[in-house]
Every structure is written in structure tokens, then in C-alpha cells.
């Protein structure tokens, strides 16, 4: 859009001293002529990586080298896949926008500590290849790439990513000795206390165990406005209302609404996965709908399906609804709709 024009010559009848010894190089382009440079796509991706740091820290504290291994495998596979697919499509590689690293890290944090290397690698390759490149690259995909990759890996390697994969007492890590809180609830009705769920002392996918870490990172993202606050707000409100109303009627015994909030990947998903801008709605109203739908779907899958956790499917289902949500939430302009010509 920017064409270059040298300073126009002065002259004619109004000749003045506008000409100077060193003529400035002037550009001509349509306005606006200034831009807010504080937020770029690259910066948004860097924000996400930064916000994921508390989760990474808890993961490493809890699962040691196994966490590092998952993060290294999935993230590097995603970045390499991004480069390969960009080349295959004859596009300039967009590694530096950071989106591939974000996809890889989000995927890694959703894996069990002891998942075999190929599950993370295949998941990351599918995430970038099928989840993103096939749709046309950054910004074009319908489904959250990390969740596409994880769904593929989960179906391809059910034993490596299923509920039983989380338990591995032989490795000598406390966290790996028992079932995940949601599996424990589903299989044996055991209720994990809330405090370990908040701090991250339970078993689970490496990034999901600490509610506190998700909230810290998530609030940073919302404060930076890289994530839209409406989505976590809507999903948390929906979950608390849907679990809280029955609790008010029947009273709380054991598993409370707070458990539903803090256990599993609910908060991780609400703050980091559902808020992926590409695969969530554009308007504030749409974001509320999306967040509420996510919260209710997670709860339904937890309660009504054979799976202990429902974050992945909830995100994918809501992703599929985004075009419809966008269509239904076209905002009315200030001053009302454009009047039809008489």
C-alpha cells in the first residue's frame, strides 16, 4: 500500500523555500498514518508463552524430567512441522510469529507425563498439518490445532493417553502413584481435597494440575487483553452455576462445585485453549456464548460420558459452532441497523 514519492519540487508562481539542501524522502499512503505498535500478533504469541510459564514451572516441579521431555518433544515437533508445511505450501515460514511454539506447548501441557515420545510428536505434527496448514495456515483454521493434535493422538494411541496411562508408580514420583482426581471420582467415587487441586499436587496432564498456575497465567493474558476475559468468565460462571444450583438444593457432600472448577483441565482450557482467538467468536456476546457453552459441555462430558474429563471435546465442539455464533451475534451498529433504501 505504501508507495514512495520524493519531495515534490517547488516552483510555479508560489515558489517558496520548501526545498531544502537534503530533500526528505516522503511516503504516500491512505490513513490512518499512525498505528498502535504495542500489540502485534507476535507479541500476542509471546504473551501466551509467558503466561504459560507458571504452568510449566509447576509441571517441572511435579513431573521433573518427564515434563521437560514432553515439552521439548511436542514444541520442537510443532515448530519443525510448521517449517516443513510452510515449505510444502510454498509459503514463507512463519516461525517467528510464535504460533507453532504456542500450539506445541499447549499440546505438551495437555499430555500425561509418561506418554511415549511418538504420541507428542505425532500429535504436534497433526496439530500443525491437519489442524492448521490444511485450512490455510495461521488464522484460517476452524478447530484449535493443539486439540486436533491431541484428539488424533488419543485415538491413535489410546493406551498411551487414556486414563490408565497417567498412573505409573514405578517411576518414583509421588504425583504418578495415584489416579487423576477426575478418574478417581469416576471409577471409585474418591474425592480429592481442594487444596492439592489448587496448588498442583495431584496426578494429571502435566500442565493441568495447578488451578492457581492457570489462574495466574490466565489473568495476565486477560489483563494484556491477549485473551478475551469474556470466555473464561462465561465458562467459570456457567460451571459454578450449573454445579452450584444443585449443590444449594441438595447440599454439598464430598465433590463440590469448587472441585469441578479446580480439578482436571477446566481452568487450563478456559484460560488458554478456549481463548485461542482464531477459533473463538469475534464479538463480546459471541465470546460469552462460547465460554458458557464450553463450561456446560465440560460438565456434561464429565458427568454423562465414559470420559473422566471433557475439555478437549468441549473445545472442539464449541469451535465447530463458532461460525454459527459469529453469524448470530452480528452487533447492531450504534444508532440502529442501516435503514433500507426507500
Amino acid at each position: 500500500m505504501t508507495s514512495s514519492a520524493s519531495a515534490p519540487p517547488t516552483g510555479g508562481t508560489t515558489a517558496t523555500a520548501a526545498a531544502r539542501p537534503r530533500e526528505p524522502r516522503l511516503t504516500v499512503a491512505p490513513g490512518p498514518h499512525i498505528a498502535d505498535r504495542s500489540l502485534t500478533t507476535q507479541r500476542m504469541m509471546a504473551d501466551v508463552l509467558l503466561a504459560l510459564l507458571p504452568l510449566v514451572a509447576v509441571a517441572i516441579a511435579q513431573f521433573r524430567q518427564y515434563a521437560l521431555f514432553q515439552i521439548a518433544v511436542a514444541t520442537s515437533a510443532a515448530v519443525i512441522a510448521e517449517w516443513v508445511f510452510a515449505r510444502m505450501r510454498g509459503r514463507p515460514a512463519t516461525l517467528w510469529d510464535g504460533s507453532a511454539a504456542v500450539t506445541g506447548l499447549i499440546l505438551a501441557l495437555s499430555l500425561p507425563a509418561t506418554a511415549p515420545w511418538y504420541s507428542g510428536a505425532v500429535g504436534a505434527i497433526v496439530a500443525i498439518g491437519v489442524g492448521k496448514a490444511m485450512f490455510g495456515g495461521l488464522g484460517q483454521n476452524l478447530f484449535n490445532p493443539a486439540m486436533v493434535g491431541r484428539a488424533f493422538a488419543m485415538i491413535a494411541f489410546p493406551a498411551a493417553l487414556g486414563a490408565t496411562a497417567y498412573v505409573n508408580p514405578t517411576l518414583g514420583l509421588d504425583a504418578l502413584s495415584g489416579a487423576t482426581p477426575l478418574t478417581a471420582l469416576k471409577m471409585s467415587g474418591n474425592v480429592t481435597p481442594v487444596l492439592p487441586l489448587v496448588l498442583g499436587m495431584t496426578n494429571g496432564a502435566i500442565g493441568e494440575t495447578s488451578a492457581l498456575a492457570s489462574i495466574l497465567g490466565g489473568l495476565y493474558l486477560c489483563a494484556r487483553r491477549t485473551a478475551s476475559w469474556e470466555i473464561p468468565a462465561g465458562s467459570i460462571a456457567a460451571l459454578l452455576i450449573a454445579t452450584g444450583l444443585p449443590a444449594l438444593v441438595r447440599g454439598v457432600s464430598g465433590w463440590s462445585p469448587l472441585h469441578d472448577l479446580c480439578a482436571g483441565a477446566f481452568l487450563y482450557g478456559a484460560f488458554f485453549i478456549a481463548t485461542d482467538p482464531v477459533t473463538s467468536p469475534l464479538t463480546p456476546n459471541g465470546k460469552w456464548i462460547f465460554g458458557i457453552g464450553y463450561g456446560l459441555l465440560v460438565l456434561m462430558i464429565r458427568r454423562l460420558s465414559g470420559y473422566p474429563e471433557g475439555v478437549m471435546f468441549a473445545v472442539l465442539i464449541m469451535n465447530a459452532l463458532v461460525p454459527l455464533i459469529n453469524r448470530a451475534t452480528i452487533p447492531v451498529p450504534v444508532g440502529g441497523p442501516v435503514p433500507s433504501p426507500k
Binding site: P8, T14, T16, R20, T40, P339
Partner: protein
Amino acid sequence: MSVPAVHAAPRTFPRGVHPPEEKHWSRDRKIEVLRAPPLVQIALHQHTGAPCTAVVQPRQTVAAGDIVGNSDALISAPVHTPVAGTVQRETVATLPNGRHVRVVPVQSAPDQPSPEALWNDLFGGEWPTDSISAMDPSEIVRAVRAAGIVGQGGAAFPTHVKLARNPKKPVDTILVNGCECEPYLTADERLMIEAPRPIVVGALIAARAAGASRVVVAVERNKPEALAAIRSVADSRGVEVLALETKYPMGGEKQTVRAALGRTIPTGGLPLDVGVVVINVSTAAAIARAVLRGRPLTHRVVSVTGPGIAEPKNLLVPIGAMYADLIAACGGLKPEAARVIAGGPMMGFSLGSFQSPVTKGTSGIVVLAGESARPPETPCVRCGRCVDVCPLNLVPTRLALAARHKDWPMAQRFHITACMECGCCAYVCPASIPLVQLIRTGKVQMQKEVAP
């Protein structure tokens, strides 16, 4: 129509952006009178509406303020010469917005009034208000038209059309717009500081013409000196002064009306539809001058400012002076100048040539320096930032997509014609997508391709 209480004013509007204000370059520079250049070029079409035709002949001698062009159309305004001199042969000039217009050049006579005399004639002296209540409204409208007054805030809509009483749409409020929300520009701010009297008196005259009972001057909060100056004149004359939030595009009339009066102008409508007439502060001063002194609109204040100009200034210039004259009067461009903009940096037009005449709607020349090219465009990640800032609650990214693919049904579904092209969306876009530029061209193309 009921008149809402003063405290009902929300003083802001939803969404919008806060670009760096950049007023410091010129806000403390007293208005300087630009000496009449040897030649002025008076555009025959410098307003919204029908162009004028010249009513003078080449080699004819004219006095300052003589009419040069006129039109019979309702929506039009005559043009006058700011200088005494000799008319030359009509020619064509290109305005910064790309429009080619016929111009009447006038060669200035050697003896022109001194800067002090000119300032006094335009803004100084007494501005009596005692005769206003006895004025005939239609006489005011006639005088405003004869003086060629058009909105000096940018759109250059003929003011007499706005002031004429319409029994179907009664007006209760005159809203004087002193927001000047574009970064850098300080012309209105300086005028409010240095000549508050004609502004307030002009507003009262406009109220008399339109039949309004209430006059409100709205100024952004970042101009405390201007607010104080206007208040010192307004308080004793029953004129309200409102300090509004500093936010772009506060000066857009839909936003000003919303913030100052809490009223929402319907899409596709005018302030008139909610009982309001909005006039810019310079326009108000021009009304006072036309009605009380019989002077046409021949001069205006223009900010020449920004990091790329040697000496930023606020200049009182003859309408018809060349941009080159103004730039020269400010010491010329610095070597690091990168872009010269007619108007503000948000909605102004970048200049390829300085051989354009100043028109009644010229508010400033902003010279940016250093890196000014937009970074390369990257894909939309649908972050919705453009939606979060659109003052009209549109979905700019969808409008731009529709415009790019010429999908006019989609453009209409997303209300493309409601867009006022303020540029907030393109300003914030993290992917540097030229959103408003796409929407702007899309609107024009759609009009051409979709048969009415």
C-alpha cells in the same frame, strides 16, 4: 423534545482508542498571521454539495472579501477572495483528497492589511450579544450563506443548511464542537484560547437561527486552558461548557452528541434527528463574524505541526494559500520528514505535492518523521481487537474481508455503510491489516456494483 439535565451527559462514548496526543509540538504556539502570499488559489468546490462557478473575470480587480464563485444550488456555499488583487485565468488544482477542482487564482496586490489589523478584523474587538434576540432567524441563515460558511471541522457541509429551521425537525441544542480529537492538531485549541468571545457569540447567533434554547460547548479534557478561556466567556452568557474524556474519535459528531448530550444519532441520520445542530468552534466564530461584521469566510487557523517540520506553528492563513506557503512559513521540512498529512494522522490524507490550496475544511498539516510505513500485513487471527474499539459497534475484520472478496451481501449483513471510516480498527490491528482502507474502497465499489 425533552431537554435532558446537564448531569445526564455521559462525557464519553463506548469503545474508541487513545492514540498518543502529540499536542505539545504546537499547543503553546500563539496563532501567527501568515502574510498574504503573492498568489492564492480559491477552489470553487471546497465544500459538500454543488460546486460554484466563477463570477469574476480574468484581469478583474477584486477587494479582500469579494465574492469569486457562487452557485444556485441549495447545498453549496459561495467562495470569496481573502486578498485584494487581480483575478487570473481559472485553472485546475488537486486537493489533498485527490479531487480535481477548478480554482480561481488571485494575484495579491502589494498593499495588504497588517497582521494586527487582520487579526482584529477577524477575531478582535467587541462582540455584542444584545442584538441577537431581536435578529430574524432567516436573516441569519441568509448572512451565513452569503458569507460562504461551511463546517470547518472537516466535512465542510454548508452551515446555512444546518441552521435553517425545519418545522418537522425542531432543534433544541446547539453543540459547539471543540474536541479536536485528532492527534497533533491544535488549531481549534488555540482559537478557543485566543478568541473565545466570537466562538461563544457565534454559537448564540446559531441558536437564534435554529431556534435552540440551549448552547453547549464540548471540549476534550486535555485542553484545560481552552476550557478555562471558553468558560470565562460562556458562564455569563448562559452557555454550558462540558469537559469530555480525551479519546479518539470524540470529535466525530455522533460521538460528541453521545458524550455531551447522551443522545444517539440514528444510523444514516443527522444530529438534526435528535434535535441537535453541531458546529465546529471555528465555524461558530465565522458565524459571529458574518452576522455582526458582514465578513465572509476567507481565513482560517491551520496547525502546521509534527516532528518533521522545522518550526511547528498555528497559522491564520488566507483560504487559497498553498500548502507549500504554509510549510515554508514554518521553516520547511526537516530532512527526516517522512510523511506530510493534510489533516490529522488518523483521517487525514498524505500529500504527494504541496501545490494544493488550503480550503475551508483544512485543519492542519502534520509532518511525521522517521519510520512511518506500516509493518507488513500478516494474517488475521480474529483477535477481535477491531471489534473492541469500533465506536459504531461494527465488526471491521468481517467488513474488510467482505470488501476484499467483493462479497457485497456479507458487507451489507455486517452494516458496511454504517462505517464512518474513523480508522480505530486499522490503528489497533495487531496484524497491520489496512482494515479501514479496505472498508473505504469497499463502500465505493459496492455502490458502483450493486445497482440501487
